[in-house]
Point group: C2
Chain length 711, copies 2
Amino acid sequence: MSTDQATAIPLRSKTPIPHPLDPLSVAECETARQSILKHRGSHVAIQFRAIALEEPLKKELCQFLDAEHSGTLNSHTPRPARVAKAQYDVVNVNKEVAYTESWIDLDSGDEVRHRAVERHHQAALTTHEFQAFADTCFASPLYNKAIDEFKLPEGFVVTVDPWPYGGPDEDEIAPRYMQGLCFARDTRSGNADSNHYAYPLPIIPVLDTATGEIVRIDRLATGGKEDGLKYGTHKASILDHCQPAEYVPELLGIPLRADLKTLNVVQPDGPSFKVSNESLVEWQKWRFRVGFSPREGATLHDVRYDGRSVLYRLSLSEMTVPYGDPRPPFHRKQAFDFGDAGAGRAANNLELGCDCLGTIKYFDAVMAEADGSASVSKNVVCLHEQDNGIGWKHTNFRTGRAVVTRSRELVIQFIITLANYEYIFAYKLDQAGAISVETRATGIVSVVNIDPGKTSPWGNVVSAGALAQNHQHIFCIRIDPAIDGNANTVIMEESLPMPMSKEINPFGNGYEVRQTPVTKSQWIDAEPRNNRVIKITNQSKYNPVSGKPVSYKFTPSATQLLLAHPDSILAKRAQFAQHHVWVTKYKDGELWAGGEFTNQSKKEVDGVSDAVARQDNVENEDVVVWNVFGLTHNPRTEDWPVMPVEIFQLHISPSDFFTANPAIDVPGSKNQCSILAPGAKSCCDESGAVQQAATSHLQGTGPDLDPKTNT
Amino acid sequence: MSTDQATAIPLRSKTPIPHPLDPLSVAECETARQSILKHRGSHVAIQFRAIALEEPLKKELCQFLDAEHSGTLNSHTPRPARVAKAQYDVVNVNKEVAYTESWIDLDSGDEVRHRAVERHHQAALTTHEFQAFADTCFASPLYNKAIDEFKLPEGFVVTVDPWPYGGPDEDEIAPRYMQGLCFARDTRSGNADSNHYAYPLPIIPVLDTATGEIVRIDRLATGGKEDGLKYGTHKASILDHCQPAEYVPELLGIPLRADLKTLNVVQPDGPSFKVSNESLVEWQKWRFRVGFSPREGATLHDVRYDGRSVLYRLSLSEMTVPYGDPRPPFHRKQAFDFGDAGAGRAANNLELGCDCLGTIKYFDAVMAEADGSASVSKNVVCLHEQDNGIGWKHTNFRTGRAVVTRSRELVIQFIITLANYEYIFAYKLDQAGAISVETRATGIVSVVNIDPGKTSPWGNVVSAGALAQNHQHIFCIRIDPAIDGNANTVIMEESLPMPMSKEINPFGNGYEVRQTPVTKSQWIDAEPRNNRVIKITNQSKYNPVSGKPVSYKFTPSATQLLLAHPDSILAKRAQFAQHHVWVTKYKDGELWAGGEFTNQSKKEVDGVSDAVARQDNVENEDVVVWNVFGLTHNPRTEDWPVMPVEIFQLHISPSDFFTANPAIDVPGSKNQCSILAPGAKSCCDESGAVQQAATSHLQGTGPDLDPKTNT
């Protein structure tokens, strides 16, 4: 789905030498493809899964970045090798190999590394596999026999949503499987976007992707609270009690709101950011590079403020979405949307004026087709500024003078669609040196059929016949800090009550701020009741004003962790989702909180849990901090048919990193386009009016425009 | 400070009969004043503290509102009496009376109720008292003697910030006191806004307001961690190690950022809201009234969505700010900003283009001067719309069609200044039926002097010689719900793990959603680890789709509660700050979480703690829900000299209140003013261009403008 706009593939403007963090160009992707085809030989068929930049080893990249930032970069500076990593299937050759990976040096075209991934792992599902799934079902006698048991209403057609298979049962030896959630779609309107999710069918076909066969049809319970694990009472006319749930405006059946007036964000002088060399962004003392990978979507690299390093890399590492309906086979509804599918692969091609307002810079991504050819997926990441209200304000009550600044944010956003569901991810930088990571959950909640008139403890009936099952979304953000350099120490800081005592706390108002350094790799849970804060410090750089080590901090939210039983497969494969913070020592390539291989995993392998188990020294070391947060989503009727966004934000803020408020030099001048309601005409929608208003402001001619009266 | 613009007092446009919730008009304020002067007689001197609307008894108001909303309102409908409540001092008459309150029927001019508040309570401090404090100090020999001990640098003058006295000690019998924090200001620039907070002086004068005498000078410790409770080593040249900390741009000493480009919010067709009869606001199916009181600032009343009642009243009830430095007399740095001072009294007169963008409606407030005359405080509340990113989105991966809406918010905002500090409060309504209450903390952190080179466990040195003390801000929001009527039941809902068992949870993925009704008035603490949610339900109205009672819900944040020792005066007078949620039965006039009298209180009287102790039945009753949250603020150097906003939001969302997403009918049309960066000229800043862009969009002439390509 990311290739719809790939009709014309523009070659990247020739930069003689790409920056080591620049994503692959079309030409580089083609170089990698050719190299692999050459190395594997013409006697085998190759199906590509991905071709993407292999980021340099940190040591090599840091040497390069040091030269870059010290201004000593020249043609003799050693550069990390420019390498592409390709994942592909060599069709029908070696049954012991799940898939193959090759690393191609893009200068020489040589294959510099090669890995045959063992059979017991599964590659992430590709867009092509998702797209082929429904056709395989429709061609399957087993599937068609199952469907024939149902009497669909006139004009309805079956539609299948591909899903990862989830975690196989303890004793199950599962080949590469996919499962499908089945619905019926009302075609009578002739509108291809009528919403099939309102009509769930109680079967799940299971596909063996190696054989291309539907091997099994799982039957789904449709009962209510009175039925326990039993199947319920559904009949052939399974959809007769369902109701339409349209969301495209022309099918809504009600008029759209007519009283919402236009709100435009206008930046008459253009944006305040500058983007150069494809990936380098500079804005308001921030400087960083935007990366994009098939698994993670957008990533931030080499994030610096006013010339000082803050983060080496910031990314969304993983998420898991387990469903809480205990009736089998719903226990296999557990997606790892990054590892099983890939946030980059699922990224929407964003559209001007829909996904953000104002002046937008879009980034494209070079992705590999099944034949390895490069396609440009347009507008997968957007960059824009937005106003976030007041940034800081103080009014001198003696003079009446108010000094107030707006808080401008820079937003790097991407949006992914995974069948029914959407996530909106954004990195936000502000002028006061803080970085936020925002997730918004939206889209259509996953529903299954429920018998007429029944309700269920495992979800909410959001539409007649449609049970939206309770579930969790648990996210992990990977923070690779570089607080004035890579050697950092994590401190757990808590504010704690003190005993009342004549000697130290005579009136009982005192409280203690206790710091506990993290010495070995470990997990830490949130404890807001102690105001538990995670500080990432540089113990060799002291703030000259406070005398404390420079640091950035965040307060982990005590959101609910994984509810699945610790002995369940769901919990074993999502160890990362069981603690709020993980502190590990940096290791090249260790990017995946839930492990590299999540698709059909039975346990988390080489995820954060294993990284922590190494018991590495993490004091004054190159540390990585992982933050886990989640949303337990017991659906409301208001979440239907498309749910309003549920927003979560992680704030990473400087703490004695700067000697004062870094935004103190943000101009506080008055916005000249704000107008009084109602009636007044904006000074910005007609030529010349801006000058007029500005003049009147500067002369202080009106009572509302006198800068001294704001007490 | 709220009266600077009161030179011209416009009489309110004559409405024959004000709505019972309309704030007092100037004429009504004058009626109340005249009545009190008449009733008290000309032989006494009266000093007014406040004159404001006395809200009707709920029973009477509800009868009126029922008629209003059912369309049966007419001239025969019984109306609640229109009553003003005045607080004032009868000077030098009765020493047993703290102050006097009168309730004046505004139709008859009669005093319908009268209360002499007993001596052991203290009225809130008025603007006039704050303003007079410094002059009293400067005229005091005791104060001047203390100041003379310090050798101020050339060109510095002393300045005094008035503060409430805080809680007296256990055995202290305190008359009406105020205390002052002393600083020196560098006048050499000739700029009246040079920042005195950088130069703290280690004394606190204490004023007896009855006698007008400075009765005591408290000495402040200036030591560091090595000094314990001892005073430290400061000398006469106490300010020599301090450094300037300017924030007004002309004194900054560094140039302002020149690379921040203008960002305008333009609403060419005007706002989507409608304000009528002074206080009635209608916007996007919402309908409510804005109130304003000297104690609370802005309040929302009779909040309805699409004709259904949601809230009877929403307000900020109280906050407390205790400081955690155990060295006396810092234990008396504990402000109750609503009860001690008054958020309405401290409200800024907002300025167009500074405090919000776009098209703004301002509300004025009628306040009483010391002589009881009405003055109009301009622009104390602002109302505007803003864009909050994507509201909901779904992309059909089969067709590539994305339907995406923006989330528009309506913001009702007011900002208060309390000496050094600012709070920005906002109620936000969205199109999906949710209500948020937002607090932003900004302004200048409270500092005390610290000896050269020392650091302290009780705060952070944010500027040489200036220790910003650790403190907490604990807020309480009062939610008076009316979920489809006043008879509501509060449910505590938790998501809990289940044992693994073949019978009910064979694979361990199941989890239980457990509901616990609140039967008697009680407190509840937050427990995000259980996804503890507070649902306010109407058990006699069922959602026809889900079969569940209609409700609104919120998730209380587990922010840190009061750290002060339970035996401390600070804790006793802030019981409300020790639990996250309080559920009480409605009682007329019970609006104050920390009790009516907080100024110099030694314990909370008639606050939420006492209300809960009544053990009222709250099932299917008129309930009130109070949410407490806070910020433990251990200052950073980045918080100096003016701190970047710290934001907290409470979200109150519908939960099975509607049968579907109420925002499903929000148009998803494309914003035609968004443009590509860099270079493109906005279609909105020149006449005619909007049409051109719109046409090109509708014809789908460009690849970025094709509505079908957004996968």
